[in-house]
Symmetry: C2
Subunit: 124 residues, 2 copies
DNA sequence: CGACACTAGATGCGCGTGCATCTAATGTCC
DNA sequence: GGACATTAGATGCACGCGCATCTAGTGTCG
């Protein structure tokens, strides 16, 4: 019973922090950098890794998005010229996603705003 | 720099936990109890408090939803007969939201599933 | 080789969300 | 009391999401 109350408390706190931070991030990224949170996070995954190319599948594994959401997010990024799709030679069903110079630039700009929101809301 | 990395790590972990848990909750609540996460959380706020009636505004304060999302969530709950709207006498712009017996029952059923998902994903 | 299960990713669809705006009821100042 | 700003909540709209399904390329038997 007390444990249940603790569980609920923990959950509500997670729910609240997440929504507050995500909401701020979304607004800042959109208003100042024309990026969705998912778009930013996708770029972020592409720059953090050692190599710039990743298969959709690998990308999906380290992200929180459903397969379809990721597919559309990448489509938007391609449309904006921030990312490029390349067909995989070995397995022609596969798709490589590669960040472009423009993508790197946009990510670098947005990263500052991103970090500043995080430092406002997260104690480190 | 190291602090930045820590910040990002903290954020990614929040992002991942939240999405994983929310996704499971959403599925379980929807499949077994025909409730959205937001709908459940709204009912939860109405049963946790000492009184069953709350103004939209008060409800919004303790929740993570935007005003419009809350308004629609309550509308859906009213439609399902789980909650009732009453006009406030003192300020006729205000709206009281009151949980119905059916709402209490539904919430009680769903609560078990809710807690079980939480205990699977949160260490206490 | 040919049929059939399987996998990677794209797409149609319905839905919940936030933003901007609208409506109606309250102040407030003269 | 009358004009105007303000507030509570509802609603039009565009958009990103997950689910189910579709398409196309791979295996795997016979």
């Amino acid at each position: 019973m007390e444990q249940e109350v603790a569980l609920i408390g923990q959950w509500r706190s997670l729910l609240t922090s997440y929504n507050e931070i995500a909401c701020h991030l979304e607004r800042v990224l959109q208003d100042s950098h024309k990026l969705t949170l998912s778009e930013f996070e996708t770029l972020d995954r592409l720059t953090t890794q050692e190599c710039d190319k990743r298969r959709m599948q690998d990308l999906a594994e380290v992200m929180y998005l459903s397969q379809s959401a990721l597919s559309r997010t990448v489509a938007r990024l391609v449309n904006a010229g921030l990312v490029a799709r390349t067909h995989c030679e070995d397995d022609r069903r596969g798709v490589f996603v590669e960040i472009t110079p423009a993508g790197r630039a946009r990510h670098a700009e947005a990263r500052r705003a991103h970090l500043s929101v995080l430092s406002e809301h997260l104690v480190s």
